[in-house]
Amino acid sequence: MVFKMKFIKKSPWILHYDGSSCNGCDIEVLACLTPLYDIERFGAINTGNPKHADLLLITGSVNEQNISVVKQLYEQMPNPKAVVAIGVCAATGGIFKDCYNVQGGVGEVIPVDIYVPGCAARPEAIIEGVVLALNKLERRKSPRKDA
């Protein structure tokens, strides 16, 4: 059965996971949901349940301990789905790249659609990233082959 996925773009549900970030990007993700930036005007809601989520927002890099958690969250999300990596740590490891317990960006473990730069990423940039990810999501009408 093929669904028309237009409605997802109107109301994307967001799952947020903190990889090993310093909290800076995490509170900016939360700030996006609160009155000043109010990402809810795009229909986006923060959910705690990966099975309800369309977008995965990851902050921070991956390490030995959370690698399986990140993979599991991604696999539990239904198709179609998109991943937004927030902050420079999620892209490459950032300032913590040389730390012994940092294995690099989120892209090492799961496919990332949009990278949002910044340390910490500003809410405006995060919203832009989410909107770009929604466009990708809409084009992805059939389930992804690599998932």
Partner: protein, 360 residues
Amino acid sequence: MGKRTIVPFGPQHPVLPEPIHLDLALEDETVIEAIPSIGFVHRGLEKLVEKKDFQEYTYVAERICGICSFMHGMGYCMAVENIMSLTVPDRAEFLRTIWAELSRIHSHLLWLGLLADSIGFESLFMHCWRMREQILDLFDMTTGGRVIFSVCKIGGVRKDIDEEKLKRIVDVLNNIEDELRSLTSVFLEEQSIKGRLSGVGVLSQADAFGLGAVGPMARASGIVTDTRTLGYSAYPHVKFNIITAQEGDCFARTKVRIEEIFEAISIIRQCAALIPSDTLIAEPVKGLPKGEYFARLEQPRGEVIYYVKANGTKFLDRMRVRTPTFANLPALLQTLKGSELADVPVLVLTIDPCISCTER
């Protein structure tokens, strides 16, 4: 007595912005034991002192945690300044105090919002975070950053706040104080909030002392402790009260944190009035550090200890942080014992957990 079951809590959980995992051993609905497992956010940044020189490392120290970012940078700078016997200009000390207290207000408002969210009071969460944005705007105006602003450096600060901006800060704070008063009545008088918080997770004074609780967690259990009284930075010049409560439950912890916001506002007002008008905001750094030092300061979550050991080269030997959440975890596990499963999210939140500080 029912059968013992284990309920996993975290690492990804709706009330937790950060990953921590607790295995809750339950009998019926009552928690018998909570076994934490941490390490989801461990980066190993203390070892980075071997790769970044002592001046660069200020940026890493600020990224130990994004919520109390400024105070982490300040603690590290204080330790290195003491090793190198640098005197920080008076104006810089006052500026540091202003930013530190603004950070405290922002952190406590953030926490109040998360608390409201954890008990399902969504609109209150939004109100707290709306107020917090005004503080972030002040950071943006004075430093150019919202959460991590790298304005502290060894020997002083990087940016000055001019008269006009100081006035603006005081104006915004006056406004926030008014709004906060109406918010306080919701937190402290609203029956549904009282019902969720009063008598939940009681930590006795003896337990708080014995388990080494720090910050608002200890103060809500009746222990008078505040590292700011040691008189670092500009704190000797200002008057402030140490807020304590006797009950030791979640409600007392909320009360202490709300009162602390008012104290912080009053400290910033005094600083804005007393700040010396000289123009020097940073001493030039000459030479390399050699020696060791413990720096202690009061973060929103409690006492943080910085240990720095320098060997006379530009790379430090060792940098160690003891963060307040780490000190409060034993007290949390104590309060979790015997609590109801439904209260666990609230209990975990009332220590104001900062996992990324704890695991570094």
